[in-house]
Symmetry: C2
Subunit: 212 residues, 2 copies
DNA sequence: TTTTTTCTACTGGTTTTCCAGTATTTTATC
DNA sequence: GATAAAATACTGGAAAACCAGTAGAAAAAA
């Protein structure tokens, strides 16, 4: 008889925690050592306890799940980290994998698929659910172009443009010449590769520089 | 001994389903009759089976959870529908309650609170978790101003403006006079109470007329 | 069918943005 | 202290957007 596969589960939804625990406990040779609702607690635990697999959420209350994943792999390089998340954003999936996750599954994954995925991950495979694969294969325009690096002043002016201010109004608010504002405005459009303000605002929002 | 409180649970995440079932089954005098991952199946079941409480998600694959809630209350007006969701958007919370939900809880709710909430709902109370109450009490600017009613043509033109097209370009694409496009553009700005295109786009995105 | 809404299109004029290029000062960074 | 990056400011001209008001035709709703 071989050693059991040991688990730590991290998710801020107690219901999900309970569901996963129940599901894994029902499997032969698998054992849930501990469950946590915050990344901090989990990290503390993992400092002096080796495990085979970590199942973790992305939307944690304290740490970002992506950073957590990175920290876990630093502590225990051989552990398999499987991200189980509701987020279907491309950028988040990529960041997770970049930081050492062995797989990314959405929370609507069926139990049998989930168990199968865990086994695959233990064999060293990269586990991605079909839906996740589809998302990765279908990049949105904003994903392809890296967000331009904006200076502090540019961000400030961008925000004002989004608020519907004219060049003159912005100049007055910031105590600078309208001509200066125009220069910034022009640089912004160039950086975003657009030719007018509406396009600029759309891009700014899609790149999260301003909130809608 | 009184009759048990009967449950139907609807959630497209099998893990959540399992967790909730386990949690409720552990309570005295509570019984889960059935679980579903789609709204359609659940409605079919509820057509010939009375229950005390429905626990349901909002982000269902087939129906919108909000409509589902409405349908359920039509079938069984006395049933208590508790929405258990990840969405923390004001509009969704309001729509849920408007359509007959007896409560709205976020999925990170602790098990004991959840059980307590179910009991409160059964007593006829409106159950809102603290976080949900906070969201409802703190309206975003876009929530306060009702989204203007746009005509089909206006939406079309709005989309093109967001794409960075000029009036002339839009006119060419839609085979209409640039002057007509300008009229629409002006009406759009008036409807959104903004004075230029950047502001228009920002509002359009915040009101979900165009995607960022 | 009548009424209302939407889509269309115009006049004529003002304001703002957009383009291309340059240049000085200030602030970081090495 | 040297170098680079950012913020400031300008000229001058073209293009586009914005404002206010009007109005006929088509489509939808009553």
């Amino acid at each position: 008889m071989c050693e059991p596969v040991t688990f730590v589960i991290i998710d801020d939804h107690p219901v999900v925690l309970q569901g996963l625990q129940y599901m894994i406990q029902g499997q032969e040779n698998m054992e849930v050592l501990a469950c946590f609702t915050t990344g901090g607690e989990a990290l503390a635990y993992l400092q002096h306890q080796e495990v085979s697999v970590v199942l973790q959420d992305i939307g944690l209350p304290d740490t970002s799940g992506i950073e957590l994943c990175c920290e876990i792999k630093k502590l225990q390089p051989d552990v398999k980290v499987l991200v189980l998340s509701n987020y279907n954003e491309r950028s988040i999936i990529f960041e997770s994998l970049k930081n050492g996750a062995s797989g990314y599954l959405l929370k609507n994954t069926a139990p049998d698929i989930l168990i199968q995925s865990i086994k695959s991950a233990l064999e060293g495979k990269l586990v991605l659910s079909e839906e996740v694969q589809a998302i990765m294969a279908q990049p949105a325009p904003a994903d392809l172009s890296a967000p331009p690096r904006l200076t502090r002043r540019e961000k400030e002016i961008l925000q004002h443009i989004a608020d519907g201010c004219t060049t003159a109004e912005i100049a007055e608010k910031l105590f600078i010449s309208p001509l200066t504002v125009e220069s910034h405005r022009r640089n912004l459009m160039q950086k975003f590769s657009v030719s007018n303000a509406p396009g600029l605002i759309r891009m700014a929002i899609s790149h999260k520089f301003v909130v809608a």
